[in-house]
């Protein structure tokens, strides 16, 4: 410590000196021109007269704190923490706060521990939220239920620092004992929220439970109500769920609100990252919406740091860790250099050195053996002895949305079997339970999804992430499921017995071990193959991944069968009169 003090008082040289740039002061919301001295990874000097072993000329550039993503899911990026770090650190992100609830569903506590272990030693600080809602509902089958006791363990072992998004908002405001025991387990810690469309008295009761932020605001009215009630606003800009344009006017009109607002990414895909970046993309987009550059910066640095009480970062100030980005300008938000704890880790969009070590650890996979369904087991026959033509429940998808409609339709019957029918835009949906290895299989039908032929199988199916397949014929479905099983998870597109494209996601059935560039090449192939099978639905992968999420209305299919949470739960395939 004495050395830091001597460096601060210019009696000794520092390690690093950023010279001649202007820096963004998030306390006073202004640019300052000053040199910045760093020693032992800590900012020890701001001003003039400092010397250092290494001097970096920053003239003409803008120096900002490393970006912080206050809410995201590593699994959505298809990358392991290591590969994700290699991708987003060069974009200026130095801290993320992920909720590992995807892998928690497929691999339980083992999965969370794996994520934590893989997050050590990276040039990116990863602070995990303890998943609060595994399973998402009783209609879904995770590897294991995460209880309050598990959550306490995750805190006690230092694996998690806060409570992950509390999605089960009705049980919070209704006072459900199990949910409240999880809230109790997180007492004194930050409890993050998830409260779509919640308002009025129910929202107030939800807040009493402890959730202090929300990333599910779609309208200014809802965002403002939550801000007024003391919640922090997370303006989400994900690959699919994008609220930035809707909410930016709120910030633009009153930038004081940046004191309680931040930008987060929630679910972002490799392609999305490639096209628009990470938090640097949020800054650009906020500025494009008319938010001032410093306010946009605050929403991606100081505000998330304050919300998560990470008082050691989020600003260029003495005593804070030297997570620093040298940009050309905030407006273009291109990271010329990135320092993590004072070490130069990226330059011009590339890591300076590869991240040490390798993804060598045994990663948690699926149960060794899952009895996959035979062809006959995915066939659907009309009820025997039926007096009149049967009618079935069908999931009606809506483009651009994850909610669905429950439709009643007369099925297409061929050779005594109820089948998919591309002409009527009816596809067959099959879900095979994998997390517990039972192979329990449910079959349903989907309207308006756009399958012309073949099948798409995926092990990404929120939140339980079972083997899920949608297709136009049983042969394609069977081939896709078997291929998926053989890969240990991923995404497969088949046309009859032909595999058109596949992406292996062996890490928990959710993540690839490929680095970013190779991963993007693979996902591009998936997109090409999708155009053959389902030319009109650019959201096909995303929609498929939400067809099992039981907590979103109306009709969904889990391994336990149809479920409509808005109609009280389980639903039959055949409509009963």
């Amino acid at each position: 410590m004495r050395e830091l003090l001597r460096a601060a008082r210019r009696e000794e040289p520092s390690d690093l000196l950023l010279k001649g740039g202007r820096f963004a002061n998030v306390f006073t919301m202004e640019y300052e021109t000053a040199d910045i001295a760093v020693k032992d990874g800590i900012i020890v000097g701001i001003g003039e007269g400092y010397e250092a072993a290494e001097v970096v000329d920053c003239s003409g550039g803008t120096i900002v704190p490393g970006f912080i993503d206050g809410h995201m899911h590593v699994e959505s990026t298809f990358m392991t923490p290591r590969n994700l770090a290699a991708t987003i650190v060069p974009l200026g992100t130095t801290t993320i706060m992920p909720d590992p609830h995807e892998i928690a569903n497929t691999c339980g506590m083992e999965g969370i521990r794996f994520m934590y272990a893989e997050s050590q030693g990276l040039p990116l600080d990863i602070y995990y939220g303890a998943p609060s809602c595994v399973p998402a509902s009783n209609f879904e089958t995770p590897r294991e239920m995460l209880t309050a006791k598990n959550i306490r363990e995750l805190f006690d072992e230092g694996i998690c620092t806060h409570l992950g998004e509390m999605m089960n908002y009705p049980d919070v405001y209704l006072g459900n004992r199990d949910v409240w025991s999880k809230l109790e387990a997180a007492k004194g810690k930050i409890i993050t929220g998830h409260a779509p469309q919640l308002e009025g008295a129910d929202l107030i009761a939800y807040i009493l439970g402890g959730p202090s932020c929300d990333h599910e605001c779609e309208s200014i009215e809802n965002a403002l109500e939550k801000l007024r009630l003391g919640m922090w606003l997370m303006v989400r800009q994900g690959a699919t769920a994008r609220n930035l344009t809707a909410l930016a006017p709120l910030i633009r009109e009153n930038e004081f609100l940046t004191t309680r607002a931040m930008a987060v990414s929630d679910d972002i895909s490799p392609d999305f990252i490639r096209q628009r970046g990470h938090m640097n993309g949020c800054i650009r987009e906020l500025i494009a919406e008319g938010v001032s550059p410093l306010a946009a910066l605050r929403m991606t640095t100081f505000s998330p740091a304050e919300y998560f009480q990470l008082f050691d970062r989020g600003a260029i100030a003495p005593g804070r860790i030297a997570d620093i980005v040298l940009l050309d300008t905030l407006e273009s938000c291109k990271a010329k250099k990135v320092w993590k704890r004072g070490n130069l880790v990226a330059e011009n969009g590339k890591l300076v050195l590869p991240i040490e070590g390798a993804d060598s650890r045994r990663f948690p996979g699926n149960k060794n053996s899952v009895p996959m369904p035979l062809l006959q087991e995915i066939e659907v026959r009309p009820p025997k002895n039926a007096i009149k033509a049967p009618r079935i429940n069908v999931i009606g998808t809506i483009r651009g949305q994850v909610i669905t409609k429950r439709l009643e339709m007369t099925p297409t019957v061929k050779d005594g079997l109820i089948t998919a029918d591309p002409d009527r835009d009816i596809a067959k949906l099959v879900v095979v339970e994998k997390n517990q290895g039972t192979g329990r299989t449910a079959v349903g039908f989907v309207h308006n999804y756009g399958m012309k032929r073949g099948a798409i199988a995926s092990s990404i199916a929120h939140d339980a992430h079972n083997y899920t397949c949608i297709g136009a014929d049983d042969t394609s479905i069977k081939k896709a499921l078997d291929t998926l099983y053989a890969m240990g998870g991923g995404i497969v597109l088949t046309d009859g017995d032909l595999v058109l494209a596949k992406l292996e996601l062996p890490v928990g059935g959710l993540m690839s071990t490929l680095p970013f560039d190779e991963l993007c090449a693979e996902t591009a192939k998936l997109a090409e193959a999708r155009k053959i099978l389902n030319p009109d639905n650019a959201e096909a992968f995303m929609q498929l991944s939400f067809l099992s999420l039981s907590v979103i209305p109306e009709l969904k299919l889990t391994d336990q069968g149809y479920c409509d949470i808005s109609a009280g739960g389980a639903q039959p395939l055949f409509v009963e009169d």
Copy 2:
């Protein structure tokens, strides 16, 4: 908890409903019109449609959070915590963060424990800082030195929540081991600062030690430098040290800075409270300086709550404790009603019910026996065998300041004794060590203090608070000191053998047991008597109380003799050639 939820969801009546008023929203910085429901001391509803056992019509009024004083010393008010609560709660203050370092000097750990015990069960939350600088320097004699171990004890026992003002800034930035061990003991806790005129590299090094706020800013330049470096600004408005007018323009020009700024009172006297109130007075004065009412409010509610991480208060919001003030308007800031944790505790400037219990506990006093000096022991004789006329060091006071000048003067000699001389405005100053009961006595002289006759003795003499007396003749001094000793501390004014006025401060030699009104009547008598003895110096009591504070330049007198910190320490009475 279920009951709170049911009340929040309007399924059950609440305890209290504030109906028809507008309230100040410190998150969005706007007034809102809504009813506010309270149950079990918690705000559970904001909006319409609530019912409650007790409904209060607030129409026409403004509802605000209870005020918070982020830095003050209870001892300066001459009141015990109980009497102080009875005085300031009716003014709208519901939380204070005092540093008990005065009683820590006179009574050690016992004194701090006493203050904590006396602070329980009040309608005022009192969170103490652990005194970080007892003694203020090695030239002062406290009851006991407070070490890092003591500080750790105070935290472990829950007596203190943060580290009190770290006044020894040179030893922070120089890396002194003892001081740093105290900073280490406070790791992870808020460390409050005290850094007058500190700037540049030394200020940065001080910040590296952990202090994250400062209440010693006198200029906008210094305040802005500290804000830019990430410190929180405490705009102090004390009875003597008043920085509000100087700093208000900074806030007025950029109210975004209220996110990092608060108003505090530091040292306030009974008369000051009577004349202008407490935090309500700060709000009025800030508004008078052109700060917007909501910004002024934020500086006395939400900002201190945020700084001290008291996330359960400082705002009218669900889940926060119902510390609520009903004002006529923010501009006049008159508290019509005050609720503490949902209980009505004050109305129209008066407590609703007396505070339960009484000041019945044994309070820490002085050592039973202090050998007080004989008359001969306060006499000063010129050195024997002196070749030429002696010259002495004299403390030169400056009106309106606590700093002094070191003067060299030729003393007045009468009957072979060096004496005070009202004609030349030279008074004699005597300090008698009381905290350890040694009775060690030091004598010096003061110029420009204005004593025409008689003596003023006081046991308030920062920071060690020894028996201190300034006078125009030895008889008055002796009488004043003996009376002071007999009272166990306080303030005494004598004229020869006549006691003109006295105030007993038996609690640690610092605090009275009198309630506010009686106390003010007594202090008024002191002021009248002062006018007889020292008609021109309205600051006489305040100046006397700082004549022993060794850490402020130039010349001071402690029980160990003259001290000039700017000249390296101890100084002799007689100037050596």
